[in-house]
Structure formats: structure tokens, C-alpha cells
């Protein structure tokens, strides 16, 4: 056994950068996803319930 940095340490350094890259990718993917609750129509009201909010009653 030696205290000098060897092949295994290089491997760990490489791994660290790969892991960091993967974590960043995961974060980016997570932030691009819609919160699942907002896709659940049993939880969220999607359509505005009043007709007045969906049409224009003024002749313009």
C-alpha cells in the first residue's frame, strides 16, 4: 500500500465528475417536469367553471 495517488484515486476523480454530471442532468430533467399533482384532474380544476370567463359578452 502507498500513500501516493494511484490509479484508484484517478478512477474516483473521474467517477466524481461523471456522478456530478448525472446529478445535474437529473436536476434539469426534474425541473422540466410538471408537478404530478397538476396533471391529476381529481386534484386540479383545469377549466374555468363560469361561462362568462370563457366568452365575450360585449359586442366589440
Amino acid at each position: 500500500m502507498t500513500d501516493e495517488p494511484g490509479e484508484y484515486d484517478d478512477f474516483l476523480t473521474d467517477l466524481q465528475s461523471v456522478v456530478a454530471q448525472r446529478v445535474e442532468e437529473l436536476r434539469a430533467r426534474q425541473s422540466a417536469q410538471t408537478p404530478s399533482a397538476f396533471n391529476d384532474e381529481e386534484k386540479v380544476v383545469r377549466d374555468w367553471p363560469e361561462l362568462a370567463g370563457r366568452i365575450m359578452e360585449e359586442f366589440r
Partner: protein
Amino acid sequence: MAIRGSLTEASLPDVLQLLAMGRKTGCLGLTHANNFGYIYFTDGAISHASIVNRGLGTEEAVYLLFTWTQGTFNFEPGATPDDEVQLHCIDPQSLLLEGARRVDEWALIAKKIPTFDIVYAMDRHKMMEIDRSLTVEEERLVPLIDGQRDVSAIIAESRLGEFVTAKTLYGLLTTGYVLRIGVSSRSRAPARADDKATEHRNLGVAFYKTGMYEEAQREFRRVDTLRENDPEACFYLGLVALRQQQWAAAAHAFERYVSQQHSSRPSVFVNLAYAYEQMGELDRARTAMADALSHGGRGDPLVQTNAAAMAVAAHDYETADAALASARSLWGTRRPPPAWFHYAGLAAAMVNDLDRAIALLGEAVQVYPSYAVLWNNLAVAYEARGDFDEALSTVERGLIEDATLPQLHRNFADSLQRDGRFDEAREAYRRAHSLDAL
């Protein structure tokens, strides 16, 4: 829920007292023969009243409406007057006593002045015989009682109002100062079709605004007969059909407007798009909305909001977000309507900007606290961000506004489950399920 009834069953004073005690907000529409009047209420106080085609002020209109003892009434909750009308805050109780006095006096006046097309003239000899000084109102009326003007013209020119003019005239008739000459030529001539169409149009608009859609439809069909392909009649017939959920009829009315090549109005295309959307014709709906935007709608925040609602339905949240941002800047310092907040919150959440969604929906429930839908979606946004205590209290607040919204019970159940309150959660899931099945 609208309240309808007959004035022979419940008098106007009874209805007014009921609405005042219940601190109601909305519009009370009244019909009497071919006449229509309406009274707007804000928290039980009268904010505006009018009788169609009569041009009366609020108090005068209410007093005249007291004389309508036959006909129907219809209360449409939540309806508010147009922006341009002058608003008042009158306690209905304060009008009841004077109203009752006027009803009695009108009964007497009507015996001598049965219609407003009668023409009167001054009897100068009689005036010389009787030595009596004239009142201020009489001084105003005497120059107008000239054997030419009928009562309607005298009312219009004296600016004393119907009641004071008729009462003063009644006094002059009783003392013999005034003689009946005949009826005005205007009343003998048949009304011009265009004038009649305008009267029906005014009635139709008033009926529509007070939620009396069948009556509005009847009036606009008359306009349509008198003025073929009248653009406003097409528009309102389309609106009535939308209100009655007759989507194909609505689309037909708006298509008729477009095919007549009347001046382009984005509102017609927005409504046509909504009718198509409800019919499941999404391509045509998108085309109509594109027409709305290209016919002046880009600068109209309501058109942009409706375009955003359609984009949300198509899961195109980036487009929706951009249209809503445009609408908000077009409104400037004015407060957007609740539907804008709803779609803005939804679009922000769907592009995973939960902080913005919470800020928007938080603002929405401050300015529109009675909309349970806004509370519900705010609670979901809190839950998605991991603010579970906020989510629970928001759901509970929403349930106070509307305990019939299934999503609120579902979210309440989820919060209870998270807290380990399993029995209560099971009950809430059950309520959500049974409301959803309705």
C-alpha cells in the same frame, strides 16, 4: 341560483325587502306588459335602476316600478351594471314609504291622464278668472302646455321627471287651467320598423344582461325580422344559444355574422371559437381564435385570455403563458378578471414555476375570495412545493366557499392522510367520490 316569480304573488316591495335583508348582489329584472325594468343590488343596497326605453334616473325608475302589480320578476345573482352607469348606494327601505305614496297618487293621476300621448292646452280665460299664484313646478310646465306637445314631450322637456310632471299636470287639470285638445299625431302614425327594432334591441340587451335568456331570444328574433341580418341580433342570438348550451345554434349565429361581412369584431370570433371547442371541432376553434387575434384581438386582454384558455385546453402551456403575460400588460393597472388568474396560475404551474403559480393564485384569492376553484388550485401548488400545512389550511378555506367541489375534498383527504388521520381521510375521499359522480 336565479329567483323567479310573479308580481301578483309577491309584490315588488316584498321582493326588495327580501333582497335587502339577504344583503344580495345581483340584478332584479321586472316585466310588465311590453315593458322591462331592472334594479341592481350590491350587498342589499340599490346601486342602479332603469326602465328600458324610458330614460329615467334610479329613484324615479324604482318608484315607477312600484306601480307594476302584474308581470314577472327574475333575480340573477352576481350580475353587475355596466361600467359606464352612475352607481348609487340606496337603502331600499328608504324608498318604500315614498313609493307607496306615489303608487296611491299614480292611481289618481291615471284616472285623469290615462296615456302620455294626450295633448293639452292652457285655458287662459280660466286662469284669469281664478286668482292663484303658480307653484315653481307649474311655472315650469305652463309654457310647455301649448296644444302641440303631448305629455311625453312635456315630461322630456320639463326635466321634472314623470311623476312630478304628471302630478303637476293633474293639479292644473283639477283646477281647470288645462284643457284636453286630443292625442298627438306621433301616436296615431304607425311606428317605423327601425324604431321598433331599436326598442326590441334595447329590451333584448336588458333581458340578456339580467339572465332572462328566453325573453332576450324572443326580442332579438323580432329585431332579426324587422332588420334582416342585423349584426347585433346575430351576436346576441349566438350568446343566448351559448348560455343555453346549444353549441351548434351558437356557432350558426356567429357564422351568420361572419358571412354577412359585417365589420370585424374579435368578440364574435372568440365566441365562435368557444362554440366550436364545445362541439369538439378543435381545428375550427383554433382558426376562429386566430381570426379573433388577427381582427384586432391582439390588443384586447380578454381575447388574449381566451386564446390562453384554448392553449391550456390543448396542453400548449408556453403559448398560454405568453398570451396571459400579454393580457396582464394590456390591463395595466386594472385588475384582471378571476378567469385570468385561474389560467395564469395553471400555466405557471404547468411550466413548473410553482413560486409564480403560488404568487398569482395567492393574489387571486385575496381579490376574489369567493372562488373555491382558485383556493383549490393554490392548495395543490402548495402541496407540490411541499408546503403541506399551507396546503391544508388553503383547502379548508376553499371548502368554506364551496363544499360541493370534489377536487377540494380529494385534496383535503390527501392532507388528512399525510397527517395520519386515516378515518377522516377515508370520509373525505368518499365525499370527493360521491360529488364527482354527480
